[in-house]
């Protein structure tokens, strides 16, 4: 019963938090660019406007994949709040990403295909970092269960700070912020056409926006895990990371997908592997 309340609360509250975060994002970004910016609630106005539009699509499968993206994202978030296995969370997040890519591939549209191919490279860039994080969590706690991270008095950040740096750029990729807004961008100046979301419109685009809100809560939630006890420090760290992303977004330009994969597979993986090696040596496994 208690779990049911958590599930319902998450499904209801997460998009509100996510939408507000996007509202703050747009406001701060506008100020950084010397504009006034929209009201904080603008993402919600946009969402309801899109919901009210005529539902048109370019392919019959488009709806299925974008809906699957939303459902799997929610399932992945539920894994986090129900404090189950971290690996399952990563697998579900991967499935969500695959759904979005397949949605992009499901039409014969050049722009949508560009976006889908690039989104696939984004998955290739962040997936190993998250899986390495899972292994590091195991090396630290002796379990893959999130509940053990939450109950552990020793915060992960102290021993997992190299992986924390790697997770910060996973946050950039997942928030679709420069320099990693490769598959689709929030900024008109970066983008000719809207990348993977080009062929979505009306209520289907609204579903995509909704999924993005869940996604940002999920990724920030993963960052909270680095200092889950007491929770408020973790929340502060996550909010600071969010603000950092906004600054990075506005001082950098979009880079190529190839550069992103190279960076992630060199710097990110080395950070992760060294981190895990250190944990194992400290535990005397070798």
């Amino acid at each position: 019963m208690n779990q049911l309340i958590i599930v319902i609360a998450t499904i209801v509250l997460a998009p509100i938090a996510g939408g507000l975060l996007f509202g703050i994002d747009r406001r701060i970004t506008a100020r950084l660019q010397g504009r006034f910016g929209p009201p904080i609630l603008q993402p919600f106005y946009d969402f309801f406007k899109l919901m009210g539009k005529e539902s048109i699509a370019v392919s019959k499968m488009q709806f299925v994949w974008i809906y699957a993206y939303l459902v799997l994202m929610i399932a992945s978030l539920l894994c986090l709040v129900l404090q189950s296995d971290f690996l399952v969370l990563v697998f579900l997040l991967g499935f969500a990403g695959v759904s979005l890519v397949l949605g992009g591939f499901s039409t014969k549209s050049p722009y949508s295909h560009f976006g889908a191919n690039r989104e696939l490279l984004q998955i290739l860039a962040y997936e190993p970092v998250l899986l390495l994080l899972a292994i590091a969590i195991y090396a630290q706690n002796g379990t893959f269960l999130i509940s053990m991270i939450v109950s552990n008095q020793q915060p992960l950040l102290l021993s997992l700070w190299p992986l924390f740096i790697a997770v910060l750029y996973v946050l950039t990729i997942k928030m679709r912020k420069s320099p990693f807004d490769i598959s689709t961008s929030h900024h008109a100046h970066q983008e000719i056409v809207k990348g993977i979301t080009t062929e979505y419109s009306g209520p289907f685009l609204a579903l995509y926006e909704l999924a993005e809100w869940y996604e940002i809560v999920l990724v920030l939630g993963v960052i909270v895990l680095f200092w889950a006890n007491p929770l408020w420090i973790g929340l502060l760290i996550a909010f600071a990371a969010f603000l950092l992303e906004l600054v990075v977004d506005n001082i950098t330009a979009r880079m190529t997908a190839r550069w992103m994969v190279r960076l992630s597979w060199s710097v990110g993986l080395i950070l992760g592997i060294l981190n895990i090696a250190y944990l194992y040596i400290m535990k005397g496994v070798f």
């Binding site: 699509a57 399952v88 890519v101 591939f105 998955i123 292994i135």
Partner: protein, 654 residues
């Protein structure tokens, strides 16, 4: 009763094979294949119902001599083939087998009478179920496939009987291989599978088919050579025929330090047959054969014999450096093949690399060598056999619909052949996404990999690469242009029965993971690892109540809510597919910057000078960075080093 069951499992395919060879009529031959398949399936279920048993053939006939004679016959045939194909490597590695055997037999005067000759334990039962059920389905599929194949190729003289003969014979040899307790008999069945695969790969008799068959032959013969050396070493150092009993080797009844080297050699043999790097090229070359061959080699026979041997011997090298080395050899192959798969433009080659990768994962699990990882290995063998068998049958069916194996030619297949596309798509999803079995196995493997962190890192990298190559292909397959309708294609029952059976199998086995774990895998794991007390309680109990949790000792490693994940899949994908449809009036053309011609073809646009042009979309393949030319030298060098290290670990342990 046991006499009959063993005879059906091993000898019936031989008898049926010769019968098929004699029959020239298409329908009569088909009936014999189907009947053989039904009897084999029923027999394997009988084995499962009866449980473990040991068996020695009745004394009246000298089976040992027959097997020795047949051994020589096969090796002499290799010599002849080597001369006929003018292939020096085939000749050399046939000689390196026949000379040690002759020395062993005539100079050392070895006697190899061993009781029991066959031990059918839980692991063997799992294997025989896979071989008999999936292998038989592939034989049924081949009946019609080979007719279509020959009609398309316009051959003068039908060679379908010959093809089906080797296909059916293969199943008997595999059953013998997994049941055999006498290492020398195991070697014989091992050589029969090598011979069968040579004949099947060479079936089309084109230049490239003969070349690739020869490569398969010599590469597997290097494994055979290591096998025979291991037998001689065991016999001399451990003293007598009892050293050749598989159960004795894994039971720990022998002087252990001297046993590590022969066991490492046997693992090397397993790696050659399982096409681990650097031996992957024989399995890729085997792709030239008709598709049922690939389906059979990849799912239920041949390569599974390789992983079976490594897995079977796991207790013999547990806790040694060899074990860690095997874990890293397998994990490296998992990583390397997954990277190579991205650059492949041919569907069957992607499937082949994916097989090599997953076999690497299974071998790595055997090398990690904890009850948990062994359970993961057995789970992966089962799920991989079902999914990959089905995917190859799909690839064959697609090939016979569009007469191409190229991924780019499969664009928009969802509109041309919706049923096959559906089955293929589910097969692909089941290879790399939750809640299907392969991910379950991969998840357990990752959680078990904490013991060998280097292997865990390779697992992580390979998992990410796996997502890329499958999604890329799925994307081409599922692309739909709105104007097309959905006529369902018609398939011959010889195609559709195996396809739908395996399709249902994926869900039944995936959904019923709890009971299957309790009835088969828990006991099979305890057959592999003696004294396994850790896994029994934690995993099995929680599986039944709806989720599975991995438990070692007292601490829970993690949990995987299987039923909940199936619910998520249902809500995410199947509900909208079933209950949501767009009206034709809701469909629009794609965005082309307003340059569309406005005709019925949505992919036509006005290029420069207003010339009407159709645009073509293609996937990314990264052949410059991830192609075989770029990666193979590096990967093969590292793989050879790793295998050398594995053998060296065996030498040091002595």
């Amino acid at each position: 009763m046991t006499d009959g069951m063993m005879a059906i499992a091993i000898l019936l395919p031989v008898v049926a094979g010769f019968l098929i060879l004699a029959i020239r009529n298409y329908f009569a031959r088909g009936v014999v294949v189907v009947l053989t398949a039904i009897v084999l399936i029923a027999n394997s279920i009988l084995f499962a119902a009866k449980g473990p048993l040991t068996y020695t053939p009745p004394a009246g006939f000298d089976w040992g001599t027959l097997i020795t004679v047949l051994d020589y016959a096969i090796l002499v045939l290799y010599l002849v083939l080597g001369l006929k194909l003018r292939n020096r490597l085939v000749l050399i590695f046939a000689a390196t087998q026949i000379i040690p055997i002759a020395y062993f037999e005539f100079v050392m005067k070895a006697h190899m009478d061993l009781r029991p000759a066959f031990v059918v334990d839980h692991l063997a039962i799992v294997m025989t179920l896979i071989i008999s059920i999936i292998g038989s389905l592939i034989c049924i599929y081949a009946i019609r496939y080979m007719r279509d194949h020959e009609q398309h190729a316009h051959v003068d003289k039908s060679r379908q009987s010959r093809f089906l003969f080797w296909l059916v014979l293969f199943l008997g040899a595999m059953n013998g291989l997994v049941f055999a307790n006498n290492l020398f008999w195991l070697y014989f069945f091992w050589e029969v599978t090598t011979l069968c695969s040579f004949m099947l790969i060479a079936h089309d008799k084109t230049q490239i088919a003969l070349e690739n068959a020869a490569r398969a032959l010599w590469m597997n013969s290097t494994g055979g050579t290591a096998f025979i050396l291991a037998i001689i070493y065991l016999y001399t150092t451990q003293g007598g025929a009892s050293a050749l009993s598989v159960q004795n080797i894994i039971g720990g009844g022998m002087h252990s330090a001297a046993m590590i080297l022969p066991v490492a050699l046997l693992c090397f043999t397993g790696c050659t047959k399982a096409a681990q790097m650097p031996f992957q090229s024989w399995l890729l070359g085997a792709m030239v054969a008709p598709t049922p061959v690939s389906a059979l080699l990849h799912s239920s026979t041949m390569v599974k014999a390789g992983v079976y041997l490594v897995l079977r011997l796991a207790p013999a090298y547990a806790g040694t450096l060899v074990s860690t080395a095997i874990a890293i050899v397998g994990a490296f192959t998992f990583f390397g093949s997954s990277a190579l798969a991205i650059s492949q433009t041919t569907g069957k080659r992607v499937l082949a690399y994916s097989t090599i990768a997953n076999l690497g994962l299974i071998i790595a699990c055997a090398g990690i060598n904890t009850p948990l990882s062994i359970a993961a290995a057995i789970l992966l063998i089962i799920f991989h056999a079902i999914s990959k068998g089905m995917l190859f049958l799909c690839a064959g069916t697609i090939e016979h619909q569009i007469w191409s194996r190229e991924i780019e030619d499969m664009e928009g297949l969802a509109a041309k052949a919706p049923l096959v596309t559906l089955i293929t798509a589910v097969g692909m999803l089941s290879m790399f996404l939750p809640p299907f079995g392969m991910v379950l196995g991969k998840w357990i493997a990752l959680e078990a990999a904490y013991k060998v962190p280097l292997a865990a890192v390779f697992f992580v990298l390979a998992s990410a690469l796996t997502i890329v190559f499958w999604t890329k292909w799925l994307g081409r397959l599922l692309q739909v242009v709105p104007k097309l309708g959905w006529p369902l294609e018609k398939l011959s029952p010889s195609y559709s029965v195996p396809l739908w059976t395996l399709f249902i199998g994926i869900f039944v086995v995936g959904f019923g993971i709890g009971p299957i774990y309790n009835y088969f895998i828990a006991s099979a794991t305890s057959d592999v690892i003696a004294g396994n007390s850790m896994i029994g309680s934690g995993w099995a109990n929680i599986v039944l109540t709806g989720s599975s949790a991995v438990q070692t000792g007292a601490a829970v490693l993690g949990s995987f809510p299987v039923w909940a994940l199936y619910m998520v899949l249902g809500v995410a994908l199947f509900l909208p597919m079933l209950f949501f449809g767009l009206k034709p009036t809701q469909l629009r053309q794609v965005y082309l910057c307003g340059e569309q011609t406005g005709g019925t073809d949505t992919d036509e646009w006005c290029a420069e000078c207003d010339i009407k042009t159709k645009f073509i979309l293609g996937g990314y393949y990264f052949q410059a960075t991830l192609g075989e030319k770029a990666l193979n030298p590096w990967l093969n060098t590292v793989a050879i080093l790793l295998l050398a290290i594995m053998i060296a670990c065996g030498v040091i342990s002595k």
